[in-house]
Amino acid sequence: MIATETPMQRERTQTIYEKSKSGRRAAVLPAAEVPERPLEELIPAELLRAEPPCLPEVAEPEIVRHYNRLSRRNFDLDTGFYPLGSCTMKHNPRLNERVAALPGHARLHPAQDPKRAQGALELMWLLQESLGEICGLPHVSLQPSAGSHGELAGLLLTRAFHADRGEERTKVLAPDTSHGTNPASVTMAGYEAVKVATNERGGVEMDDLRAKIDEDPDQVACLMLTNPNTLGLFDENIAEIAALIHEAGGTLYYDGANLNAVMGHSRPGDMGFDIVHVNLHKSFSQPHGGGGPGAGPIAVSERIEPFLPRPQVVRRQDGNGSGPVFGLDLDRPKSIGRLRGFQGNFGVFVRSYAYILSLGADGLAEASETAVLNANYLKARLAEGRAGKRLPVAFDRHCMHEFVLSGKPMKKELGLATLDLAKRLLDYGFHPPTVYFPLLVEEALMIEPTETETKESLDAFAEAIERILAEAEQDPEVAKSAPYTTPVRRLDEVKATRRPVVRQPL
């Protein structure tokens, strides 16, 4: 039998270091043009490096080939369906890359005098205004670098807010469905994380919430909520929840990872949230880059505003009537201070602002609508046939932009874990959904199709699931040893953690 694996599937991967040969290089540098003085004249010998660090020595053609070949070992959104729940893998318009690359953006130094960076500051201000409108909150800071950074910011704001009133609170509540970053941020911000249970409708269990508050209302600093939550369900009790928290004196934090469900339809500010983070790399089409960059701007209510990080982008009416002037406001005495260097991930802002301009008020609302339609349609498709039996939806109601299935019956009846299903999906050319999250659903599969998928994609995905289940009824081993078509298969993750090899020995 002749192998039909492609040469790329077959090849043992080599690192760029393994392709290195002494003396090769891609870079030619400009001549120094200035006197070639010995380095020791410039830097004390004991502060000089004896041997340059080991970097690969490879000419340009092989660098290009190396990374091009590596790239083909990735699955990506521009190639196929990527329904990774909670991640909003929506289309990444190339227009956004084009405008981000304009030299006026890409080669603008962050310390440029604001007077000579008016375009950049205006863009940031416009983005702030837009996000504020979308979130229904009056003030925005663009500084946080991602969602988790926004969470930390929100908790530091909460601390400052309470401190300003002479309070010091210790507990932050979050539902058991919350994302891992929520409790991690809580700890990092010096609070104690308190878990709140989920009710049978998939929302916050109100009794438990009340109990957790009542334990010691004065210690409740904040409730962090994702709404729709990670089950893809809108919490029907949100108004009451907000009232309870506010009554206790806490702030209400909105984890905006799921904002894509409600843009132009419902606003966290109107729901009573004080602080919202927005993941520009989710709802606002910043490409995910294999794990970043992103940005996690926060929108806040009036009472939180004084504490926003500095600098803050502001618009001032110029004295001489020549139109507004944009500036960086550093003079914010109550500010929690900086969360990072300079002004944030500006390149991400450009992309997301281009996206907002492209879609506009109408397009954003339509995007959320279609996201919800696509999710409910795929849910309906997966309620049919084998999937309906083996992979029931965790909470059986209309979902928003995503939904969670449970692989529990599949595991019991076919011996197939959710992981096996995920791995077999790879052979069908799909990125699997998020698996084993949220934690309260056994063998969870969290599916977020996003609005940019066609009905045909959704149908094809549903059919693939159906075929995998049919296959498994015949022979569960097929999925249990999957995948078969990828360059590597079922890697030993335990080994990688027990005896970590995290760099190449050279």
Binding site: R12, R24, P30, V34, L47, R49, P52, P53, L55, P56, V58, I63, H66, N68, R73, N74, D78, G104, H105, A106, R107, L108, P110, D113, R116, G119, A120, S145, H149, L152, G180, T181, S185, H265, S266, H288, G290, G291, G292, P293, G294, L339, G341, N345, F346, G347, V348, L357, L359, G360, D362, E366, L373, N376, T454, V488, L491, E493, A496, R503
Partner: protein, 470 residues
Amino acid sequence: MTRYTSATPGDRDEMLAAIGVDSVDDLFAQVPEPLRLGKPLALPLGMSEAEVFERLSALAARNADAEEQVCFVGAGMYDHYVPAIVDAITQRSEFLTPYTPYQPEISQGGLQVMFEFQTAMSELTALPISNAGLYEGPSSVASAGYLAMAATGRKRFVVSRGLHPHSRETLETYAVGYGAEVVEVGLRDAETDAEALAAAVDGETAAVFLQSPNFLGAVERVEALGAAAKEHGALLVVATDPMTLGVLKPPGEQGADIALGEGQPLGNRLDFGGPSFGFFCATEEQIRRMPGRIAGETDDVDGRRGFVLALQTREQHIRREKATHNICTAQALNALAAMVHLAWLGRGGYRELGELLLRRTAYARERLAAVEGVELLHGAPVAREFAVRLDAPVDRVLERCAERGIAAGYPLGRDYTEYEDGLLVAITERRTKAQIDDLAEALGAAVAAEAGEFGITEMQKSPVPGEASR
């Protein structure tokens, strides 16, 4: 339908029928009526691609970027030339559009890049462990603080005033959260005051934070300064500029427990400050306390080599409130850019670039010091950035230079009240000798003009380049 969505009216009808509802509104019924917006957002309607392009081009045109002004501004981010292959590779859909490599079988490209990047950063810093990158420089400093607290059980940080002001401020912001105290140690002739440092470090100190080259450009004697930390069992955290490590002794060879910094100079454009990445390297001891993603080498069921996210048990998605850090989405694409840039430079090119910066910086420093009305702010050794004092208001001088198409440097007065007359000048390989000469000329003319205007008395200048000092 927008241009990015595909549901035709026909599709919608079929889909609604399959769901069993009459309209999409029915799906939104779970949003309580009073919370439904019920009106359009107060934003403009969508625009065509060409219009968006024109709009953003018009905004971009109102910025004076490094193409328009010759850029001597540094202060942590530098106008290096980003090789064309960096863009070509990072813009490949296969790198640009996937997310974190949770499914290693179909993410070997990204995972291997992380592994290569970790290797390269480990080499640069001479520390054995590197993560795959954090957000950016200053927040990486704050992350080191969090690690140091966990490692030592202590809550006190001693920080050099030579650390980037944004790093110091960010560390303080975080410290308020995780409940640590930050003590600052001043500079002496631009170098961290060794005595004051030794005095500040005590048995409660979790970490000592240095930066070398520091914010004023001075190459610090890290090893000597770090002795105080060693003595008291505090971690030594060293922020550094990754473009200088081809020539400067790396933190790992000077006793650093953690080396970190702003990664922008490696393959990342200025982008008005981001996105870039923070690198974060440490000793073996800290491996299970590291923040951020780490790729590890392993085998698959067939014995084939592959890579996975290693040590995930540190991370928030596994450990939640017990995680070593809250970071999730990081800066993978920016780390890829750095890796490609480093591979492009190669061992030889990286070293040469470091030398080039050193020599051109030395030239620029001497050239400027010889200018009437300009003198060196300090005489400490420098690698690629140095500070001068001006005999005229810095803002006005900068304005005059700007009008001549030169961004002459970073005004130190923004962050250091003690250096209101200070200007920080940065050099990259893009700054030619001719441009440096122009800068000298422009600064001289500007200072003279301002001095003339404001009647500032001329000061006696040392006429010999290189001998200028305070």
